[in-house]
Structures are given as C-alpha cells and as structure tokens.
C-alpha cells in the first residue's frame, strides 16, 4: 500500500462543525426528566476531625431534598484506584481543604449550592503538613502510613557514586517546580440516571470512562453489567479528566440511588480548582559527571513529588518520571531515587507528561550547566550522549530502529540558526535575546507499571448502506481521536472517510480498553480498529475483486483500492456497491478487534527492564527576549522537532504540537498556584493565569517520521511529547540571555529581576 487514501492527509476534523456551531453536547448540556442537582459540602480546613454534620439550617432552603454522607454508600467505601486510600466520602477525618464531606441534593442547582453552604460541620482542627520535604523527615507528623511515602522507586545501573567521584567534571543542583492546573474548558460534571432493575447510566465528562465504570460499580456495590458510562463531549482533559471524574460520577451515583432520581453534579470553577487533580509540584537534586571530552559517565538523582492528601495516580506518575529522569542519554552509571509523598493539599495526579516535565526541566537545565563547564556547545554535548538505535536507556532497554532524536536535534539546530545565535551578543538596549535547547524521550503507552491495562478494543460495524459505525474504548477530548481513528478505519476498509463514524465511548459497547492517556489512543485504539477491520477488509476486497472480474476486468491485473473505489484493468466498483453485495450474500459485516501492547518488564529491585514497547523523541529550541529592567520574558520562537512515527493527520499533529508548546511554556512562565498554610489562595482564572494568544511565540514545527513497525500505519504516540521539554529549553534560553540560572518553575519576572539585581551587586 504505497499510496494512502487518508493516512498522512489533513482531512477535516469529524467534530469541527458541531463544535464551531456550538451544537456539541457537553455533560452539563444534558437534562433529564425529574433531574435533581447535587452540591458538595467541603472541608473548610486542611485537616479536621469531623465531630458532627447537621443539615438543620440547610433543610430550610426551598427545594432541599436530602443530605448524602458516607453512610449512604451501599458498596465499598474506598475509591478503587492504585492504592485504595481515598474514601469516596470521608467518615471522620478530612485530609485537605476542599475535600468532599457530604453532598446536598436539591431541586435546583442554586438551591443545592445554597443549602450546601448551610450544612454545619462541627470539627476539631488537626495538625497538618504542606511541604513534601518536611513530610519525608523522620520525626515528621505522619499522615500516611509510617513514613508519609505513597510510593518509591529506585533505578540503579553500574556504580553511580563511584563514577561521580572519578568524573573529570561534575555538576549538581537542586530544582523545584510548582503545580499546573489543567484549565479544561468545562468543569467536572456527571449525571447519574437510575433505571429500573437497579441499573445506572452515568453521563460523564471524562477521558477514562472505564475508570468511572470501576468506581461507580464499586460505590454502588452492583455488577459491572448494571452500570453504563457514556462519555459526553469533553473539552480538553490533559489528565484532569483521567482519574477524578470517577469520584465525581460516584458521588452523583450515590445521590441518584438515594433519591431514585437522575442527579447532576457539576462543579463551579473554584471547587474544581480546590479539589481536583493537578500536576505534582516537585523537588529534585540532580548531578551529572562527565569526562573532559563530554562523555557523561554518571547521573545521580533524588526526585520528590508532592502527592497531596491521597495517593490517587501518584505511584504511576512517579514511575514515569523516575524511569525517564536521567534524560535521553547513554549513561553507564545511574542512581535514581524517587518518592511520592503525602501532604495535606489537593491530591496531585495526571497531567500531560505525567511526571516527566518536572524532572526534564531539572536535568535539561543541568545538562546545559555541564556543557558550560566543559566548554562544549549544548547541542554538541547532547549529540555526543543521546540514545540512538541499539543504545541502552537508564533502565537498560535497547532502543529500536524507530528513533529520530539525532535527526530532531540536527533539524532544530539548523532551523533556528543556533550556531550563530548561541554565540551572539545578548544585550541591545533594555532587551536581551537568548536561545536554549532541550532533548526529550517519551515511552509511549502505559509501560511496564501499567501493562495490565494496556489493551484496547474496537467494534467495527458496516451497515447495509455502506456507512460504518465504530465503537472504541478511548475517548475524543479535543485531541482529534475521532478523526484519526476514522482515517485509520477508512484506510483499512477502503471506505470513504465520510462514511465513518466513531462514537463517543459507551462502556456497554466495547470491552475495557484502559484509560485515554499516555499518548496511547492512536496506537492502541488504532491497532484495535485495524484488527477488527482486517477480516472485514478480506471479505470486502475479495468481493470487490470478484465483482470487477464479473465486469470484465482482466484477472491478471492488480486491483487498486483508493478512497472508496476499487479498480482493476479499467473497471471500477464503489465501496457502496461492494458492501451491498456483501450484505446480499449475508457476509459478516461486524467484527471485534482487540489489541494488547507488547510485553514489557520492570524489576522493582534495580529499576531495570524493557519498560516501554516504543519511545517517541523530541528536540526543542526556545528563543526568548528578556527586558533586563523588568525581568519580563517574551517568548519569540519555538523550533521543535518530533519523531512520533508516521504522522496520520499533519494538521492535527501540528495542533497537538502548538498546544503542547504553549501549555509547556505557560507552565514554565506564568502558571503559579499559591498555597499558604494549606489554603489555596488563587483558585480562579483571575489570579491563576495561563498563556493566551498574545503570549504565543512563532512556531517552527518539524516532523521526523521514523516508522514504527508495530504502530497503526507505523505511527507512535504524540499527545504529551510537545509539553515535556519546554520548561528546560526556556530556562536554558533565560540563562543564555542574561546569565541567570533560575532553578524553579514558573520562572517569573520577579525571579529574573532578583537574579540580575544580585548579579549586579556581586560585581
């Protein structure tokens, strides 16, 4: 198949028109007959012992229906996730400000929220922790287990300490990063609709309907076959619609069971900020040792993530961060210790990059400091040390042929005019220009720690009119899954693209396909669709050939299949005609597909193993301008090259890149969530700002297509890759511009200003 019908082409997004016209139905757009509304009663302090809950005053609100507490839970009390420490509704102790204690159900949203404020909680304040490094101290108060550690990993190769001592040059520093809030379009929302016979259907704003399925079945204590989760159109997830929608949906479901009415639970933005997941704040100590010629010989890292009050996804976020922590380099001696730690703040969770961006910022900053000490150009130093086909990663995994990191570095070096700019004079008047680089590798999919979830299903059903309905288990959340998966189906079946309809996920239509995370949807659901479509394709192509022969085509000719038309020896037959004939002959026109990721391994003792089935690669060059008087950083141009395998849809891939660059840049330069004494001070978009279009740099996006044999049409995964390296590249550009190494994220004007002030003083 040399000439693709749809793969590699920027076909129109399936959901574009509906979204532009405002017709897409998001969760909060759904209304059911007799529907009630729930509102959460939340913990007023970081940690309290609940003495009493009273709805005496709340009851007086017109429209008040009932109060739902942990006592109303019919199933299990703990939310089943990785470690089951998070109670669906707390019984006696809350662990962070904003944690749900109870829910008020009322006839209107307004009444529910008003009444929720009037529910009186009698409590005793308990001592609490807010600093993860304090939590790690031996004598510290214990809020989780015996050591406040949710999870811990060690990656060990060679003898890092010894090699560090023997290194010609060694660099070491500490870095920290702050939260990042997902900023999805719509806040968390679920509507639970009870049906006769103890059935429950939940409409949820989610990127992981099967996690919601697990949680709702558990909290209600009923069989999976009585629960159906239907994904509503979801306006961006970025990880924020990964685990936590399950909690929201479970609350709605308990309310629905108690009232036997449909119940909608929708958060306002403030409570969404205060209680939902975020990117983990981090602290790290990183050191690299190298020979004079630039060969990196040792890497020692201690990496700490602030997990917040409950473990949620911290263990697996930490794992991804830890295994990638040394960076995309061949290093023989490695020691990485990583900890996810409890504090009394909102539980941190999944966010695009999943534990990688924090440590990538730290290690890529330090690689630049190493290059400075060695007097080697930062790109040359990276080129000397990066992994390539056949090389081994920190976990001892041998890199396969699909690796374009070197090409990516060379491409951005050329496109950005690096060689000239890196040495250019920095200051002209009040402004200084700087340029910085980062290199990234990214294990696609869930990897060894999530391998039991790394499978996906698909059902491909060709109707008599030749239209095609497809059910998959991975979701559209703005990234373009409906479109890319349609392209893959159309290509495989030789169906016209317009004939394909991939539906939003319904857990009753397809087997548990794991979460829509880890840049795995194109890869996993794409392969599942191909598996389902293969037998259909055989039937269709065989039928097409026999029809063409009947029309008088020469039997020795080769049949071409292109964009819904089969042709051979001057004769043609359409997909529609072929399907009509298949149906006339009662052929099976619906098939299931099931794809499982190749086996991966991870040894808990030394952190060695073939941990991912394949990696994507990326190099970023950031150009920025600093106002040396105000410290304000203006992003000028981002040159970014990606090897994510075959690009299925170039426009969507560019969109993913631009979005990831901007989101990474936004985290690096603007987003600053402030906690003080366990209280979140800016839970709103007035004071927690994200980059907007005025902050947008010029984008220079390059794709290096190193084909991946086991990928659908040789694609790998892309979604998270563009964000990961942005902070490192920007921090390096800041250093290059003004000589200030800012070791924290976000890099605020105040930090640069202070750095410059101190530098002047020192002179």
């Amino acid at each position: 198949m040399n000439k693709f019908s749809y793969i590699g082409k920027s076909v129109k997004r399936k959901d574009a028109l509906l979204k532009v016209e405002g017709l897409s139905k998001y969760a909060d757009d759904y209304v059911f007959e007799d529907m009630l509304y729930a509102a959460a009663v939340r913990s007023p302090k970081p940690r309290i012992k609940i003495l009493n809950i009273s709805d005496a005053k709340a009851k007086k609100i017109s429209g008040y229906v009932t109060l739902v507490t942990h006592k109303d839970i019919g199933g299990v009390k703990q939310w089943p996730i990785v470690i089951n420490d998070y109670p669906f509704l707390c019984a006696d102790e809350t662990k962070f400000e904003g944690e749900t204690i109870a829910l008020v159900v009322a006839k209107t949203l307004r009444a529910a929220r008003k009444a929720a404020k009037l529910v009186e909680i009698k409590y005793k304040e308990l001592p609490f922790l807010t600093d993860p490094l304090k939590s790690l101290e031996k004598k510290s108060l214990k809020i989780y287990g015996s050591d406040n550690i949710f999870s811990k990993f060690i990656i060990k190769k060679g003898n890092a300490k010894d090699a560090m001592k023997k290194a010609d040059i060694a660099v070491k520093d500490e870095f920290s990063t702050n939260y990042q809030v997902h900023g999805y379009l719509e806040t968390q929302c679920a509507i639970a609709v009870p049906e006769p016979g103890g059935l429950m259907t939940v409409h949820s704003s989610t990127q992981c309907p099967f996690y919601v399925h697990d949680a709702v079945a558990a909290v209600l204590g009923i069989g999976y076959n009585k629960v159906k989760i239907v994904q509503a159109v979801t306006g961006g997830g970025f990880g924020g619609k990964e685990d936590v929608p399950a909690l929201v949906a479970s609350h709605a479901a308990v309310c629905a069971v108690k009232t036997n009415r449909p119940v909608k639970l929708v958060y306002d933005r403030k409570e969404d900020f205060m209680s939902m997941s975020k990117r983990h704040p981090s602290w790290s100590s990183v050191s690299y040792g190298a020979k004079k010629d630039g060969k990196i010989t040792s890497c020692i890292i201690k990496y700490v993530l602030d997990g917040g009050a409950y473990s949620t996804l911290s263990p697996i976020v930490l794992w991804r961060g830890a295994v990638h922590a040394a960076g995309p380099y061949k290093i023989d001696n490695i020691l990485i210790e990583a900890y996810a730690v409890a504090t009394n703040k909102a539980p941190s969770g999944a966010f695009r990059g999943f534990g990688q961006p924090q440590i990538s910022f730290a290690q890529e900053s330090l690689i630049d400091d190493l290059s400075e000490k060695l007097s080697i150009d930062p790109i040359d130093l990276r080129l000397k040390n990066i992994i390539g086909p056949g090389a081994k990663t920190a976990t001892g995994q041998k890199i396969e042929a699909s690796c374009g990191l070197k090409e990516a570095l060379l491409a951005v070096r050329k496109n950005s005019d690096w060689n000239k700019k890196i040495k250019a004079k920095k200051f002209s008047g009040e402004k200084a220009r700087g340029i910085g680089i980062s290199a990234v590798y990214y294990g696609v999919g869930l990897g060894a720690k999530g391998k039991f979830l790394d499978r996906a299903g698909a059902y491909v059903n060709i109707f008599r009119d030749a239209s095609v309905g497809i059910n998959v288990g991975n979701t559209e959340m703005g990234q373009g899954a409906l479109t890319v998966l349609s392209q893959i189906a159309a290509e495989t079946l030789n169906a016209p693209y317009e004939n394909i309809r991939v539906q939003e996920v319904d857990t009753s239509k397809v087997s548990d396909s794991g979460p829509t995370v880890a840049s795995r949807t194109t890869l996993m659901s794409g392969n599942a669709i191909i598996e389902a479509a293969k037998p259909l394709r055989n039937r269709i192509f065989t039928m097409a050939k026999s029809m063409l022969l009947k029309k008088g085509a020469e039997s020795s000719a080769i049949m071409n299949a292109y964009q819904g038309v089969f042709s051979m020896g001057g004769k043609k037959v359409s997909f529609k005609e072929v399907i009509a004939e298949c149906w006339a002959r009662r052929l099976k026109m619906g098939e299931q597909g099931w794809h499982i990721a190749p086996n991966t391994t991870f040894n808990d003792k030394d952190g060695q193993g073939d941990i991912y089935s394949v990696y994507s690669y990326n190099a970023n060059i950031a150009e920025i301008e600093i106002d040396k008087e105000t410290g304000v950083i203006k992003p000028i141009k981002m040159s970014c090259a990606y090897d994510v395998g075959k690009i299925v849809n170039p426009v969507l891939a560019e969109g993913q890149a631009e979005g990831g660059i901007l989101q990474g840049m936004s985290w690096a330069l603007y987003e600053n969530l402030v906690y003080k004494n366990g209280k979140m001070l800016n839970p709103n978009f007035t004071d927690y700002v994200l980059a907007n279009t005025n902050d947008k740099p010029e984008y220079d996006i390059i794709f290096i297509e190193k084909l991946y044999e086991r990928g659908p049409y040789k694609a790998k995964g892309m979604g998270e890759v563009p964000l990961i390296g942005m902070a490192g590249a920007i921090a390096n550009a800041v250093k290059n511009a003004c000589g200030i190494r800012v070791k924290k994220i976000p890099i605020l004007p105040e930090d640069v200003w202070l750095g410059l002030k101190n530098k002047r003083k020192a002179k």
Binding site: E629, T630, N672, V674, N682, V689, A691, D695, E750
Partner: protein, 281 residues
C-alpha cells in the same frame, strides 16, 4: 452567590420606582465584568441587582469648549472607537488596550471600573491621571468631585447608598499620555503595577505633569512629590533617575499572590522612565 432578582429600569423614572420597590440588600449592575465574577466567587452576596446598562441618559461621549464628558455606562470598547477620546485623552486611550480582553471591553463600563474601586483599575487610574471629575447622582441630585478623591480605600468609594455614577468630566489640557503596566501575562491580566502618565513637554522641559498608579497601595494613588520634582525641569537621564527614586518612595506596595513588594517598588521607577520614553517617541 447570584442574586434572587435582577431588575432593569430603562429610564431614570423607572429607576426611582425600582428603588422604592426593592428591599435594601441591592446593588447596581453595569457591565457585570466585576460583579458577576465576584458573585461567582461568592464574595458578592447582595440579593437584588439593578441593571443600569439600559439607562440611555448615562451613555454619552461629548465635548464642550473646556471639557470632555463621558457617561458612566459607556463601554470600554466605545471609548476605543471615539474620535473625541482619541483627540483629547491620550492617557485613557493608552490604557484601553491594557484593560481586560476585547470581549470584556465590549461589556465593561467606565462607571463600573470606578465603582468597583479596585486598587488595580486601569481605566480609573488613567482617568485620575487625566485629572477627571466624577459626577454622582441620587434622587434627582448631582454632585461632583475629583475622581482622585472619590476613592477612599480598598474597594471603598464616596458613593452613598443608592447613589450612582452619572459620568465623568475631564478638563481639556493639552498633553501626551502613556499607560505602562506589568501583569501576570502580556495581556488580559490584572496589574502587578501600572502607571498613567499625562505630560506636556516643551523643548525638553516638563510643563505639565500628572501621574497616577495602580496596585501599589490600597487604592489608586497619585505621585505629587515626583510631579513637584519634575515640573519645569529639563529632562535628562539623570533627572529621570532621580524622579524614579522619588516615585519608589511614594508608592507603598505589598507582597501578595500577584507579585512581590520590593519588585513593585522598583518597577514604579522603571515604568515611570518607560512611560517618559514612550511619550518622547
């Protein structure tokens, strides 16, 4: 919490009837770009809102021989398009692009920006620098005061119960203007610090000068010592450096979630110099 009822009178006559019929837990609603946000954040809890955006009497941009007159219900975007503003109020004009976003400028009013009395109100700051007067209206009676004196403190104004802002009167003074602002991002963000400079320079000599600042005190402030120092001076880098050090002593910024007190103080001087650079362009 959002109100139980929003009433929208379409004339002053209807307004006086509305006031008589509503309980006293009430507030005026203009563009809603502050009030709705505050209600959403549960900081605003009044039960009744009186929407005054329909009062055509309060929606004018006019000029007399000596003054520019602007009604309180004029939208920020209408100011951007006004020939009169472009001609006479360069400082206000310079502040407009720094104020919120294009869509919010279509809603927000000049009156609302003043009534909200935020210490970071960009347009109010520009108007103070333009030496504007504010006209207030209650039960058929109007009173007038310098806008500078209208602000009493953090979210405190001279407004009496049910009094509303009728409009603004700004003297026509020949000058140039600049508005410089630092915020959490390059646009559509609340000031960490902002400075409004209205100045007339003749042969490098400062003939007329008025300065106002946001986000460096509980309310919008002026910089009389800096102005006194610069008036009638011949501008030079040394003089501007001196002025910058004076203004740094005139401001009284705090450290909060948006920025750092020392940074803000230092930036008062930096932005003053940048503002002069801008008008001298």
């Amino acid at each position: 919490m959002f109100p139980d009822l929003i009433v929208k009178p379409l004339s002053l006559k209807e307004l006086s009837k509305t006031l008589l019929s509503l309980p006293s837990d009430r507030k005026y609603l203009a563009g809603g770009t502050d009030l709705v946000v505050r209600a959403n954040a549960d900081i605003e809890n009044s039960r009744y809102w009186i929407d005054i955006s329909g009062l055509e009497e309060l929606r004018y941009i006019k000029e007399t021989a000596k003054s520019v007159l602007i009604g309180s219900q004029v939208k920020a975007s209408e100011l951007e398009d006004s020939r009169i503003i472009k001609k006479h109020l360069p400082t206000l004009l310079s502040a407009l692009p720094h104020f919120a976003s294009p869509s919010l400028r279509n809603m927000a009013t000049l009156g609302g920006n003043c009534a909200n009395a935020s210490p970071s109100a960009d347009l109010a700051c520009a108007l103070v620098s333009e030496e504007a007067y504010i006209a207030l209206y209650l039960k058929g009676k109007k009173r007038k005061m310098l806008l500078k004196d209208f602000f009493l403190g953090l979210r405190k104004t001279a407004l009496r119960k049910d009094e509303l802002i009728w409009g603004f009167e700004i003297p026509k003074i020949s000058h140039k203007g600049a508005y410089m602002k630092l915020a959490l991002r390059s646009s559509f963000a609340i000031s960490k610090i902002g400075i409004a400079l209205s100045v007339r320079i003749n042969q490098n000599k400062v003939e007329y000068l008025s300065i106002a600042l946001v986000s460096v005190a509980p309310k919008i402030i002026t910089a009389p010592k800096t102005c006194d120092f610069l008036k009638n001076k011949i501008l030079s880098p040394e003089i501007l450096d001196k002025a910058a050090s004076i203004i740094q002593k005139e401001v009284n910024p705090i450290t909060d979630i948006r920025s750092d007190g020392d940074y803000r103080r230092s930036m008062a001087g930096v932005l003053l110099k940048k503002a002069f650079k801008e008008v001298l362009k």
